[in-house]
């Protein structure tokens, strides 16, 4: 199981970039951390989700 925003999902072995596109995230607006550390956008392709990983995806908004 991989926890995404606190929710356990069956994503072990999946590429982070594949998950993000399947969940239709708008990549340029999000910041992703895995197990507390930033995953830069350049590493979405090489990042393979593993059992026990915890991923948080934060969507940023402009506006003020």
């Amino acid at each position: 199981m991989v926890k995404v925003n606190g929710e356990p999902l069956d994503l072990a072995g999946m590429r982070l970039s594949d998950y993000l596109s399947s969940a239709s995230y708008s990549l340029s607006f999000i910041a992703v951390e895995k197990n507390g550390t930033i995953v830069p956008r350049s590493q979405y392709d090489s990042c393979i989700l593993a059992d026990g990983d915890s991923v948080e995806i934060v969507s940023f908004v402009g506006g003020g």
Binding site: G36, I38, G63, G64
Partner: protein
């Protein structure tokens, strides 16, 4: 300078807080803070900073007050319609406390003026409404080693983070570049929601100035007022490849990166999932 009798009464509820006290109030009164943008985030942030007795408040905005701003930007009044927002916000501060030094900067920040502008302040608040300008502020603060509070808010939601040089990631570590076309979308926003984020910015400013508590450094506060999904997400460490604060930064001079700070509206998109 020791507090006067008037100040002891005015800030009485700070003085009984062990985290502030007389010494802390003196620090606030001698601090200089710059608020860039005088809209929704700034309404809440400036109101709290001025009330709390932050001694010098700079306000920078080149925009004018429009009727559609009043629904959320409560610093501005009907009487201030069509006047400059920094000047209008300055009037609000003076009405709250005549002792506060207000520095008015009735201009839009750009790659040429921002470094001079922020250099005289202890802390900066990003209260602007465009991603491109948020990145300009981020890059200027990183290059000038200036701590600042980032926030953004639309609809009922928003986020905040505090950058402290050498202590945590910058906005660019998290998002790399200003999202394309983001500024050109016309989205709604509720004043009470954007006010939460502006209040968080004022809170972070006071915490930084007094060196108390734990800042939103290396952490992002996310708030959705509609669902009340609220979280603080840890983003420890910087991105070593960050273009401005990384090990081999590409951005060393703001003028050379100027293109990114000016919004292009050719690729106007619909409302994207955020």
């Amino acid at each position: 300078m020791p507090l006067s009798t008037f100040q002891k009464l005015r800030y009485a509820r700070h003085l009984v807080l062990k985290e502030i006290g007389e010494k802390g109030q003196e620090v606030l009164l001698s601090s200089k803070v710059l608020v860039i943008g005088a809209g929704g985030l700034a309404s809440s942030a400036i109101a709290h900073l001025a009330s709390a007795g932050v001694g010098t408040i700079g306000i920078a905005d080149g925009d004018i007050v429009e009727l559609s701003n009043l629904q959320r930007q409560f610093l501005h009044t009907f009487a201030a319609l069509h006047t400059n927002k920094a000047i209008s916000a300055g009037e609000f501060v003076r009405a709250r406390d005549r002792d506060i030094n207000v520095h008015l900067h009735p201009l839009f920040v750009d790659e040429h003026n921002i470094c001079d502008l922020i250099s005289g302040y202890d802390f900066v608040l990003d209260c602007v409404d465009r991603f491109e300008t948020k990145f300009l502020i981020n890059d200027a603060c990183v290059l000038m080693k200036k701590p600042y509070s980032h926030a953004g808010a639309v609809r009922f939601q928003g986020q905040a983070m505090t950058y402290v040089p050498d202590k945590g990631p910058c906005l660019r570590c998290l998002l790399q570049t200003a999202p394309n076309g983001a500024t050109c979308q016309s989205v709604g926003v509720l004043g009470a929601a954007v006010g939460v984020l502006g209040s968080v910015q004022a809170l972070e400013t006071v915490k930084f100035l007094l060196n108390i508590g734990r800042l939103l450094t290396g952490r992002v506060f996310y708030f959705d007022g509609l669902s009340f999904e609220t979280k603080v997400v840890p983003f420890s460490g910087r991105d070593p490849d960050c273009a401005v604060c990384g090990e081999h930064p590409r951005i060393k001079d703001l003028s050379e990166n100027a293109k990114e700070y000016h919004a292009a509206c050719e690729n106007v998109q619909g409302d994207t999932k955020q």
